[in-house]
Amino acid sequence: KAGLATGGALAAGGAAAQEPDPLITEVQHWAQGFGEGVDATPYGLPIDYESDVVRRNVEWLTADVISSINFTPIHALDGTITPQGCAFERHHSGAIDLPKEDYRLMINGLVDTPLVFTYWDLERFPRENHVYFCECAANTGMEWAGAQLNGAQFTHGMIHNMEYTGVPLRTLLNEAGIRTEGKWIFVEGADASSNGRSIPLDKALDDCLVAFKANGEALRKEHGYPVRLVVPGWEGNLWVKWLRRIEVTDGPVESREETSKYTDTLANGISRKWTWVMDAKSVVTSPSPQSPITHGPGPLVITGLAWSGRGAIQRVDVSIDGGKTWQVARLAQPGQPMALTRFYLDIEWDGSEMLLQSRAMDSSGYVQPTKNELRDVRGLNSIYHNNGIQTWWVKANGEAENVEVS
């Protein structure tokens, strides 16, 4: 591989090069011969050099990799759309292989006519398109007790953000006809866990989608091919994959996933249930432990993501001194309801260490709290819904570490 310089090694800040760069003065092979033709990759993958931008799992988190989770490499991404290929996965019985031909969706329970749909039936209903984030309620859960995992991918990577195409759940429920006793729905997947969850009818009739495309193409196998439920702003566990059955019920089923799991035990031993909404949250994705500063003092782009299950992000503040003072960050685009928002703060870094934080505010007026403020309310033993402010300790050499501060 040719090259005088590797990352950041070339003098910046207007310093002159000592001698001409052979990467410029010598004709490189890619400027002379052929690259790959248009028949080389009918469906492409990232270039080899980006092989570190992948989903990763944490072995000790779960007993095995089948009922487990992996993490989106948010430290290496920008913008807001998450490519499907590296969007985090959570399965309870593995990612199943379910052909469209073999797909059936049943709606039953307190309905006028219980119905069975094929995949192709679903494609005949009027569709909608929406960009939504999907965050696992356990995202940042390992950090309840304190700073544990060293990287935004691991602390905040149980999230992705895609443009979904699907049929409003209300359309399908309307097709079966909801009886007046119906107050909840229970949704299940076709995998062996079946992962049932109860959802109040209000939400079901509001903005849920029965989705079959994400970012334009068919859902990926690991995201529920051919059909998943989209429950905007609510915890990812409700976004049932390989959606098989929707039952209209008069009450919650109180399934394992809404009792044993996805409930939040407070300091007094009493647990909150039905904590569906994802609170407003943000994180600086770069610089961060996996994305250190390699270029030394001078212009530095601080960037990150913010989101809220209660609506649109309206503002994000960034602190470089651990929360003593804050600056209003620049939003790349106005926040959209229940979708990721990208923020930037462009600074002139003086090369001294920083305690980097970000703080999201949403359209409901909610301001992302500190981790300790959450602990004051909820105690120390929570798992889910950790939306506390994250701190990265960026050292003078540009490396960053996950820390907590007073």
Binding site: D52, L149, F186, S260, W276
Partner: protein, 196 residues
């Protein structure tokens, strides 16, 4: 022409009516009040054998859990402790959840192999391993809802709107928000991040 979605029209007549056998096959959920339970029964003794055969490799002979696999018994009175142990006995509010989950999702890797009587027996054994029933207990669809789950009153509906929004809907501080800042915890000290 612009707008979030299509107008909610009358029914389109798509799909077909589900047949009773089909609903029976897929609608296996059990509600807290016992609705959905099939007729059947099983004893702690039968449950012990079945559990040993189907479940113990992961959950332990006494439902105490093996390695990282879930523990299903124990943990009474720990919910307000530093490290609560959440099991069927210590945490689960409804017995229906146990029946439903074992019936639909376990054993892990071979779901939906158990017959109703077997599920009753296994659930009876899990209750027994949690000291919630005697060793001669037989669980059936008839006595199902008589079983008292210790933590049935341990749950409240989400109260973040009442408890947290008043705290966190506020004007954010921009300057002089605190006196000093100290690092109180470091991930690299704990050093549990996986290698990349």
């Amino acid at each position: 022409t612009l707008g979030a979605g299509p107008a909610l029209a009358e029914r389109l007549g798509l799909g077909r009516p589900a047949l009773p056998e089909e609903i029976a096959a897929w609608d296996v959920k059990v509600m807290p009040d016992g609705r959905g339970l099939p007729v059947g029964s099983g004893t702690v003794a039968d449950g012990e054998d079945l559990f040993s055969f189907h479940c113990a490799v992961c959950h332990g002979e006494f439902a105490e859990g093996v390695d990282n696999w879930p523990q299903l018994a124990g943990g009474e009175g720990t919910l307000d402790d530093a490290d609560p142990v959440k099991t069927v006995g210590s945490y689960w509010p409804y017995l229906s959840t146990v029946w439903d989950y074992v019936n639909r999702s376990m054993p892990f890797g071979g779901a939906q192999v158990l017959e109703p009587d077997e599920v009753y027996a296994i659930v009876a054994y899990i209750l027994y391993s949690n000291f919630l029933v005697d060793d001669d207990f037989e669980l059936s669809n008839e006595n199902f809802i008589e079983v008292q789950m210790p933590n049935v009153d341990g749950f409240i509906p989400d109260d973040r709107d009442e408890v947290e929004l008043p705290l966190f809907v506020r004007e954010p501080c921009m300057t002089d928000c605190k006196e000093g800042v100290e690092i109180t915890m470091r991930a690299t000290v704990l050093n549990v991040t996986p290698d990349m």
